[in-house]
Symmetry: C2
Amino acid sequence: MTKEIRTALIGLGNVGRSFLTILESKQGRLAEQYGLAFRIVCVADSSGVAVNPGGYEPGATRRAKENGVPVRRLAGYWPGVTPGDALAADLECDLVLEASPVNLKSGEPGLSAVRMALMRGVSVVLANKGPLVLAFPELKRLARENGAGLAYSATVCGALPVVNVGTRDLIAADIQALRGIFNSTSNFILGEMAAGKPYVDALAEAQRRGLAETDPSLDVEGWDTANKLVIIANTFLGVEATLADVAVQGITGLAAADLQAAQRKGHVIKLIASATRAGDGYALSVAPTELDGDEFLARCAGWEMGIEIHSDLYGSMYFKDLEGNPLPTAAAMLRDAVNLFM
Amino acid sequence: MTKEIRTALIGLGNVGRSFLTILESKQGRLAEQYGLAFRIVCVADSSGVAVNPGGYEPGATRRAKENGVPVRRLAGYWPGVTPGDALAADLECDLVLEASPVNLKSGEPGLSAVRMALMRGVSVVLANKGPLVLAFPELKRLARENGAGLAYSATVCGALPVVNVGTRDLIAADIQALRGIFNSTSNFILGEMAAGKPYVDALAEAQRRGLAETDPSLDVEGWDTANKLVIIANTFLGVEATLADVAVQGITGLAAADLQAAQRKGHVIKLIASATRAGDGYALSVAPTELDGDEFLARCAGWEMGIEIHSDLYGSMYFKDLEGNPLPTAAAMLRDAVNLFM
């Protein structure tokens, strides 16, 4: 028997629309293999919130948005409310998918929506890092106290299951060190610059491909990388770190000549996030780092992201992925949702 | 409050003893973080089975075995019974850890013990691939019908969470292809041979380090690799494959000269397991394969194992690990056990 999950999808950017694309092709598979059907009872974008208890058809909704129809022009538009308001007003749903743009100042509108959902016992799956970076301990507590699921494997390296491996596969480990390349946009830009392209041209190419954050300064100034490191630290390093605990340096101070000079020595400059043991906790940093060309992270090229984790129990593990479009991040939201409900 | 898990540990070889080593140092952590205490109420090796409802002390038991004391000389020795007999005779336990040597002919003594445990609703965690390779569909069915847990992430690439990623992180994916290096012993041997060492010397060095299978022909003739491919196929390719479905070729036909000839072209010969789409299913093979030196698997060197998975939803993912001793495999049993009971 299929269990129906009444789902609110907040954010109809690249990731939100890709989630709808996946539902279009995988509904049969989700029912057969996992016994689940996701009914989209609410959608929201920057224009507003719309509610349809009977469910929005995924393909039609995606195409409308791609054809320039904002949510406020959909049937069921609820004037003047935010997603958080709708949830506070007892929107009937089982799951909130939060895929709105990262806002590191207030976390809004995502943070209020996530808080409100968890307080009502509604499970939340995030692709948006903002609420976690600003309020991780509070959101974990709300989820626990209200028996709500809270999953966010899509927030770190797209579909690479870094968060899940850290939570479920490194049981009882003492992690000695980890480091990674967590931002594919800046990794792509560094690769282009190493090949001689000026920074501005490389950035423009990254934006053209639609993978840069809505605000590209998050990518190139290292904040997106730092966000992911904060989420990792809170999730499986046992540290309640915030952005203030991370020494952050981006790639905007680098010139193509710097990268080419490293290359002549057989080295590679990468934007590296790092956590190393320091006292009872970890020293957390994000910085351009010169690596030997044979190292694992040196060979995470172009749009790849990667991580290496060294622990007492599990040896050394190395993970990387190549995505190149937002579909895997949306798929990571789907896997979180399925794991919460199946 | 700590939940006590009455645990039968079958097999006191490298992996079983490493499990005891982990308990020695992590009991406090397991209680605090996961609320679990593993009490070893039964141990078994090739000499017999011993039972102590009060629990065997992990450190003392490990040291006894390392000092040449077999199970039949422990207090609680139960003459003339196999682990399966003990479970059939209502041995009171919540969990069976199966870490006895791989037996591809009969699967015994592991297979009977696993069957009996599952039929009684006792959860099972395996490091031993034999029972899964010989009876995967039956064991999955027994677990489901009797509400018992069945986990085996330690059977594929030690602590690398291949099985868990395939099961929990590639939700709804259509896997187009995967390939990997699943046997670190043969990978180490090939590396030594590429450096000019004769096969017999390289094998002796691998055995000296204690990582070769009890029967090293499983490593070098490709069967250990094929076992892991069969487990992967059954677990997350949706194929009820057996060893008869895998075209298997080992590394015993290779000479150091072959590896060095490849090296001169910038290539590397690796023992590659591969699953590629063929009709409704997959073509499964294990064979020495010449790779370009820049490929991910070409750069899994020495004792490393690795896998790459290409799917419609999750892009391309690459995982590798470096272990070099049996501790991570034992830790993988621990994580499975914790995930089943917490």
